[in-house]
Amino acid sequence: MKAVVAFIEHEDGHVRRSGLELATKAADLGRELHVPASAVVLGTGAQDAAQALKTTPIDTIYTGADVPVEQHLGDPAVDALDVLLKQIGPAALLVPATNAGKDTGARVAVRLDAGVITEASDIVVKDGALIVQSPKFGGSVISTIGFKNSPYQVIVCRANSFAARTEPGKGDIVSLPAPPAKQYPARVEEKVVEEAGKISVEEAGIIVSGGRGLGGPEHFDIIEALADALGGAVGASRAAVDAGWIPHAHQVGQTGKTVTPQLYIACGISGAIQHKVGMRSAGIIVAINKDGNAPIFEFCDLGVVGDLFQIVPELTRLVKERKGAA
C-alpha cells in the first residue's frame, strides 16, 4: 500500500467535525503504515475546506475546486478520485458513511477493482494491513474484517467513530488539474432546503429524538428546542415518521438511519427492537417516558419516568442557562 487517502465532504468550504475525524484517522493510519496520508476536497469552496483540514495531522490536501460535484450528483467526484488514485497507486480510500460518501466509495471501488468494507467503527493496522471493525445486525455483532486480493481498499467510515485532533501536519495543498469537459447524464436541477442549517442524524454528536409519546407534529418544537440548545440533531422513531409528523430523513432505526452519537436522548419513544438496532451503539442513552414499563428503560443509562412535555422544556432552560453562564 502506497498511501491512505480520505475523501472529505464539505459545504461551500465548511468541513464538519466528521471530516476532521476522517482526516485525523487517515493521518494516523499513514504514520503507522509508513506511507503518506492525504485528504481530497472537491467542488466550490475546496480551498477553504483545505485550510480547515490543515489543523489536522494530514500530509497533503488535494483540492479540486473546478470539479463540478454539485451539478452532477457525485459522478465528477468519482472521475476525479479515479484519476488521482490511479496516479498514486495502491491506496486505502476512506469515505464518510453519508449518502454521497457511500455512492462515491462504491463507484470508485468498481473502477479500481477494490474491496469495500462498510460501516467501519474502527480501523487498525495489523501486520502491515488494515483491519476494520464493523457492527452488523443492528449492532448485536461486531465483525473484524480484512481485505484480500485487493490492492486498492475502500472503507466507509461511520461518523463519531474516530477522534479529530488539532495537530497540524505538513498540510501541503496541491491543486488538482481542471478535469476535461464531460457530459454527465445526471444533473442536479434544484436544491430545495426545507429545514435550513440542520445537522444530519448520522453525523450528529448529540441527538434528541421524539416518538409516539409526542402525540402530534406540533410538539416536535420542544424536541427541536432541546436539540438546538445542545447543538445536536433531531431524530425520530418510526411511529412519528409514519404518522407524518417529521420527514423520513430523521428516522432512526431499522428502516431509517443507524446512528452513533455520544449522547442520545429519547423522548416519548418506547424503545422497540426496530428502534433499538438504530441507536444502541450510542455512547450514552437518556430516556424520558411516562410509561415506566417502556422497553427503553431496560437499556438506557439514565431513565426518567415522567411528563416529557414539562421535563424537556425545563431541561432546555437548564442547558441554556449553563451554556449562557459558561
Binding site: G115, K136, C300, L315
Partner: protein, 254 residues
C-alpha cells in the same frame, strides 16, 4: 433476505449468517421499489413490463412469488450454489451482469437491505452498467425518456434528472406498498420465473464466491446487552430535568 426480526445466528465455521433457521422475507426496502415500479407501469401504460430480479437460494422462490403477486409481470432469479460467500461488491457485479442479460430501461432498488446495511450495492451496480445512480429517491417520475427524482437530504431534497437508462434507489417514505391480492397471488403462480445461471450471464467465476471476495471476516464478537442504568420516577418536572442535567455534566457531555 433473512427475516429482520428473527434471532440472528452466525455460523462459527463460515462466519456467514446461518440462514437455515431463519425464514426468508422480502427486504422491506425492496417492497418500496416494487411498488414504485408498479405505479410507474400504471401511469405510463403501453407495453411497460415490470420484472423482478433477485439473487437468492432456491428457497427464495416464495419471496419472488409474493412480488409477482403484487403485480409484477415476470421475474428472473440468479440462483447458483457457487455464489455462496460472494461479498457486497461481488453481488453488485452479478446483479449488473443479470440486468444486462435481461435488459432494462430503468432499474429500481431499495436503498439498503435491513440485514447488512450494504447500501453500496445500488451505486456499484450502476457503475458496472455505466449508468447514473439516482439514489435515495423520495419521489420519482418518468417522462419522455427522462427520469426525475427528489433525492432525500438532511435539510430537504435535491431535484435530480437523468436520461434513461438509469438506476434509482428509493427510500422508505416514497410510497405505501400494496399487499398482494388473492387474485394477484393466484395469478402469480402462472407467471414466468426465468432461472439465471452464472454461465448464462457470463460471470467470471474468479470474481465470485469466497475465492473472489475482496473482503474477509476474520472474527466476530457478540456485543453484550447494554446494562440497565438508573431509572427514576419524578412528579416534579424540574427534578427530572435537574437529574438529567447533573448526569450530562458528570459524563462531560455538556
Amino acid at each position: 433476505m433473512p427475516d429482520t426480526s428473527a434471532e440472528k445466528a452466525l455460523d462459527p465455521k463460515t462466519k456467514r449468517l446461518n440462514r437455515s433457521r431463519i425464514e426468508n422475507v422480502l427486504n422491506p426496502f425492496d417492497e418500496y421499489a416494487i411498488e414504485e415500479a408498479l405505479r410507474l407501469k400504471e401511469s405510463i401504460g403501453g407495453d411497460t413490463t415490470v420484472t423482478i430480479l433477485t439473487m437468492a437460494p432456491q428457497s427464495g422462490t416464495d419471496i419472488v412469488r409474493k412480488a409477482l403477486g403484487m403485480g409484477a409481470d415476470n421475474a428472473a432469479m440468479l440462483s447458483d450454489d457457487a455464489v455462496g460467500g460472494t461479498d457486497a461488491m461481488g453481488t453488485a457485479y452479478l446483479l449488473a451482469l443479470s440486468l444486462k442479460h435481461i435488459g432494462f430501461d430503468l432499474v429500481l432498488s431499495g436503498t439498503q437491505s435491513t440485514d447488512a446495511i450494504n447500501s453500496v450495492v445500488p451505486a456499484a451496480i450502476a457503475e458496472h452498467l455505466g449508468i447514473p445512480a439516482l439514489t435515495y429517491a423520495k419521489k420519482l417520475s418518468v417522462q419522455d425518456g427522462t427520469v426525475e427524482i427528489q433525492r432525500e437530504t438532511e435539510s430537504g431534497y435535491w431535484r435530480v434528472a437523468s436520461q434513461l437508462p438509469a438506476l434509482v434507489s428509493v427510500t422508505k417514505g416514497i410510497n405505501e406498498p400494496r399487499y398482494p391480492t388473492l387474485k394477484g397471488i393466484m395469478g402469480a403462480k402462472k407467471k414466468e420465473i426465468t432461472m439465471l445461471t452464472l454461465a448464462a450471464i457470463g460471470a467470471d467465476s474468479s470474481l465470485i464466491g469466497d475465492a473472489g471476495a475482496k473482503t474477509q471476516v476474520d472474527e466476530f464478537a457478540t456485543v453484550g446487552a447494554r446494562a440497565r442504568g438508573e431509572v427514576v420516577t419524578v412528579s416534579d418536572p424540574h427534578e427530572g430535568a435537574k437529574k438529567i442535567m447533573d448526569f450530562l455534566i458528570a459524563k462531560k457531555l455538556i
